[in-house]
Amino acid sequence: MKILVCVSKTPDTTSKVAFTDGNTKFDEAGVQWIINPYDEWYSLVRAIELKEKDASVAIHLVTVGGADTEPIIRKALALGGDEAIRVNSDSTDSYYIAAQIAEIAKQGGYDLIFTGKETLDYNGSSIGGMVAELVDAPYISLATKFDLEGTTATVTREIEGGEEVAEVALPVVVSCQKGVAEQRIPNMRGIMAARTKPLKVVEPVAADALTTVVGFELPPAKAGVKLVDAENVEELVRLLHEEAKAI
């Protein structure tokens, strides 16, 4: 049983979002990078739990990124996972990235591919579906629960206004979110072990980028809050009804 866990780096959730070069580049000055929480807390931890139940499970991590992603890969390896593959590319196009992951997936013959539900920076929500299409596997997105019985996965996934339980035979691609597992903190033994775990760097295969970011914008600043006295809630109701036309 082989699991491929896709991880990516994102700015720490408290990072200030600013842009340089005429609003075409994210300003990385002073930014702390973390493992995308959906990848770390949910997909990776769930993969580790599966390995804890069955020691024959192998967990491989894959990331598409430059050398600066290595610290977060080491951190992911410290949580668990046997080895990591970094595809050496800085691309931000989802299709290009998915094509790289699909290539690794095909070579490795994985039974299960986990992604996070989205990354916190580009909020694309598209890598899992694209990889699934490129490797011709079923795809279950937005999983909130994942169980495995032999070669059948039972997955609870979010649908609009509720949840749905689905069964599927492996191989399958699953995107994970809250519910699938609980966040863990790496321990000292894991951190030591991660230093010597294999981290293979491979060059990207040829693939097209289908989109480019031409520029960024910051949202317009709020005009400022209108405070209403707690003894006068009728005034708030009036403002919401007449001024904001929201109720």
């Binding site: 929480p37 299709y95 598209s126 694209m130 509720g162 809250k178 289908l210 709020k222 929201a246």
Partner: protein
């Protein structure tokens, strides 16, 4: 050349997010001087010709009941075939659980560039550039799609539904429907409640409400407003509320017309999931709570006193309106 809009449905009804997508797609088509057409996989009980009032001239229907359950592989194959058969050059989805999963597959299948979570009409004056939220609502990116076929998934609540006049012709579309590998064994809908991502109004509670036993006052307010309910992450983590109500960077992202935050401090990770709301109201007893900086209206006060009064005042307003 046409704009093809994917029409999603559940329980026999077309989803609200799809009505927004139809309105949006019709506008994109007008901008490009071409026709807007809908694509419906499966069957619904309502009159689909009436969807013409959102600006689509034709609806292609693959009336196969196996399509009433989502298998992304089967859907993607059917949609890709429909795109080719209808000669569509722009395909519109809603950025909902179904749309997110399917749009990505169709994009890879057709090698057609995809922008997810679009929040405005594309700029077609020079190429094809779509605006979308990035960094969890803290910024926007303008993304250019370079491929001949372009795919957009539209964020719910970011484009207002406009119904005009007109009926669409409904044309059956003969395409191969594959065999689903995914078997749906149970569907659990939160019945009676408004789905969070579709709601016009969201009332949300944080740790300031002290415990699950105190949620009654918040539910009462939600009820008079016909609002969906949400919560901050610690509230979900402590199981005071079901985890699917957790909004924020790591939870659900919402963009309602009105977001009312009660006893929530307004941490940056919370704001990331709600800052696309049109109007934000904050009720917090701490005047220094960071949420007030992101709010349009606010009351500094104790939620336990303010909420019941607010609910009564809204009831009165509704009765007299």
């Amino acid at each position: 050349m046409s704009v093809l809009i994917f029409i999603d449905h559940a329980d026999g009804h077309v989803k609200k997010s799809s009505l927004e997508a139809l309105t949006y797609g019709a506008k994109v088509a007008a901008q490009l001087g071409t026709a807007a057409e809908g694509l419906l996989l499966g069957t619904v009980t309502e009159d689909i010709a009436a969807l013409g009032k959102y600006g689509v001239s034709k609806i292609h229907q693959v009336a196969n009941d196996t399509l009433n359950h989502l298998d992304t592989q089967v859907y993607a194959a059917a949609i890709a075939e429909a795109v080719t058969a209808t000669g569509a050059t722009v395909v519109i989805f809603s950025h909902t659980p179904t749309g997110k999963a399917v749009a990505a597959r169709v994009s890879a299948k057709l090698k057609a560039g995809l922008v997810t979570g679009a929040c405005a009409l594309p700029d077609t004056s020079n190429g094809f550039v779509v605006k979308k939220g990035v960094f969890s609502g803290k910024a926007f990116a303008n993304v250019s799609i370079q491929t001949p076929v372009k795919i957009i998934s539209l964020n719910p609540n970011s484009y207002m539904t406009v119904a005009g006049e007109g009926t669409a012709t409904v044309a059956p579309l003969a395409i191969t429907v594959g065999t689903a590998k995914i078997k749906v064994t149970a569907v659990n809908k939160v019945s009676g409640d408004v789905p969070l991502t579709e709601a016009d109004i969201v009332v949300s509670g944080g740790r300031g409400l002290k415990g699950p036993e105190n949620w009654g006052i918040l539910l009462d307010l939600a009820k008079v407003l016909g609002a969906a309910t949400a919560c901050s992450r610690p509230v979900g983590d402590a199981h005071w509320r079901p985890h699917h109500e957790h909004v924020g960077q790591t939870g659900v992202q919402v963009a309602p017309n009105l977001y009312i935050a009660v006893g929530i401090s307004g941490a940056i990770q919370h704001l990331a999931g709600v800052n696309r709301s049109k109007i934000i109201v904050v009720i917090n007893k701490d005047p220094e709570a960071p949420f007030f900086k992101a709010a349009d209206y606010g009351i500094v006060g104790d939620a336990f006193e303010v909420l019941p009064k607010l609910t009564e005042a809204i009831k009165k307003m509704k009765a007299s309106a």
